[in-house]
Symmetry: C3
Subunit: 271 residues, 3 copies
């Protein structure tokens, strides 16, 4: 039997002991678990950013990985605590997710379907004392740990009585000869990741597309950073399968003063 995998995605940062406390609780319950940090540097309380990060990571993990996410501005209020199991098509159980019901699963739900979902109410799977401000340690970590030991989702609480919270859809608008999308994230290299998926850009046309960001115009998609000399702009299909804009050996976000939300237009789409 392979050791169970639990990933952690939070906005806790790395300078406090909060992540360590969660891991201690998990290992107290599930001593052989393999813990993997996705990131603890989600921008504070930014459920949309967490949604993209979590969705991007799911496909890299083996089936039955448990993804624990704690970006939780509503901790202590009546927002639901949930656990869900997702599947792709009709195959075996794909992944489990544990966290607050506040939209962080929006990205996951675009690429997976919920097979089962429960509201976390069974306190016997929680820490004996539950604080009002740290459900990551007191509810979500122990629940993820119990799941990793084989506890069934159904034991954790009743089936969800209403749909999961989802963030507003953020899909590009496709016209006959252009796509209007936007930047959804700047990565730590400064690359600007858009919401325009590769599937919208037929391979045969990619060499003649025009990508516009503010007053910048990029002609044709590149294959890799090295296609352009240092300092030049390029557009390409990034590793998450979305259109990205970068500066060769530079930080596009700073050089272009571009931010999440900025509009990106692709022309020559089928023209």
């Amino acid at each position: 039997m392979n050791p169970p995998i639990i990933t952690l995605t939070t906005d806790f940062g790395l300078s406090d002991s909060y992540v360590g406390q969660m891991k201690g609780i998990i290992l107290s319950i599930s001593p052989g678990a393999t813990l993997v940090d996705v990131t603890h540097q989600v921008p504070r309380q930014d459920c949309a950013a967490a949604s993209t990060i979590l969705a991007d990571v799911v496909d890299s993990f083996p089936p039955n990985t448990i993804h624990l996410f704690v970006v939780d501005p509503g901790v202590g209020t009546n927002r639901r605590a949930i656990a869900i199991e997702t599947r792709k098509t009709n195959e075996a159980g794909e992944a489990l997710f544990v966290g607050p019901d506040n939209g962080v699963l929006t990205g996951v739900l675009q690429i997976s379907t919920v097979h089962r979902g429960v509201e976390l109410t069974a306190r016997r799977f929680w820490r004996s004392t539950v604080s009002n401000t740290f459900h990551g340690r007191d509810i979500f970590a122990p629940v993820a740990a119990h799941l990793s030991r084989g506890v069934d989702l159904a034991e954790l609480g009743p089936p969800l009585a209403s749909p999961l919270v989802q963030l507003p859809a953020d899909r590009p608008v496709v016209d006959r000869n252009q796509i209007r999308g936007r930047i959804i994230r700047t990565d730590s290299f400064g690359n600007l990741i858009t919401n325009i998926e590769a599937s919208l850009l037929p391979e045969a046309t990619r060499h003649r597309l025009i990508v516009e960001l503010g007053t910048q115009r990029i002609a044709g998609l590149s294959h890799c950073y090295g296609d352009k000399p240092p300092g030049e702009l390029l557009a390409f299909i990034g590793s998450s399968g979305r259109l990205e804009i970068a500066v060769s050996q530079g930080h596009a976000g700073e050089i272009l003063a571009a931010w999440s939300g900025d509009s990106v237009v692709v022309r020559g789409y089928d023209g």
Copy 2:
């Protein structure tokens, strides 16, 4: 048998290879150990900050966890290198600690008692070459690894001949109708953590307490961040069981320009 757990708390940061070197040494000696980072971002050489962080994390880990701490401004001088075993009440061995004797254990000693303690002198449990500036790698990491393999504390050196170094007590002053404490730490959310423990604040009175910080006055304790609209100040019992001051969806430390050491007064305590 569960794999042994070794936690690491240092001020080494994450951009050098120092933490990696320590982990390599540990895994060379104790290949199956589970390593957990508490934090490597203790403010440089700040033993008081390390003391709070370490004390906060201990209760989340299972018994017999080994806590390795390396905030060590006196490395290479004649400060002692130590290993101790703590217990709570009269129960089984609770935790082991390995590091320099410089006050980092002050917080742990407030919640635990030392069952046994030794000065590290037995060089056969150290790295063959010992540098003057990196005892984390050369003494503490290998000693923690040997402990995790079952080496008894008594083999590592003689019992401590004098008490552990402790930092000056930093307890709030309780008057008949007020408590004078101070901020001991700002966490990465900007929440201001005080040295005023929940046990000092009877539950029945919490709704009518007045918390003062500089010119700010907060009436009544909240249950969670969501109790107040964004931007408003709140006071509450935080996840470490101490009074905290926060700004709902904001960074209290920056907004209030408040720092560790600033005075916090609680009034209406029994008035």
Copy 3:
């Protein structure tokens, strides 16, 4: 059998999910592997910095550790992808390295010899879909994982047809009575690490050496930080076996406004 160890050294930072994606891929192939982060904060695309960091960490890990490094400005171009096995003297296999052939191994090659090396071409050990911009996830991580499961280097591709890329040698110049070296790295404490190795500085002479950096002059090497009062400059042999310059309880890099590349001169060497 001990679990295999795979270390990771990248410039990906910790705020994106890139490191998490690599770890998911590794654990999908090699579920019991022990993963150790060396650092993910190599300065962006700085192969020379990565070279120093990687070389410093190798000796702390047990034999047969697999070191995965992804500082890869040429990803997607025709730079080679490689895996090598190094040895020290004539002993057993020492370590394996997987990554791009761009000079990051320069430091390792100064302390080890290549026993075998291959160019990665066997796509059956790669991810089924390979992006142009993230070979860390799509080629290097799965190859490292397969190595950790016992796949032989020879299965991954043909022997290297030409030498590995090496960065320009950066050795100090030794004159009759002085050594001219330079700063190669500032660590996160602000300590200035030079390219002057301890072996160049005979122990008997260390107390009377003069170390010069800009207009600063340091007389004699110290043993540890505590040898000098807070705020004073000191020079010493650091934990990686090189001459370092520090400020006691301060950040030498900021205080001296010194940077990588700055000249450091040691006088009185045999005078």
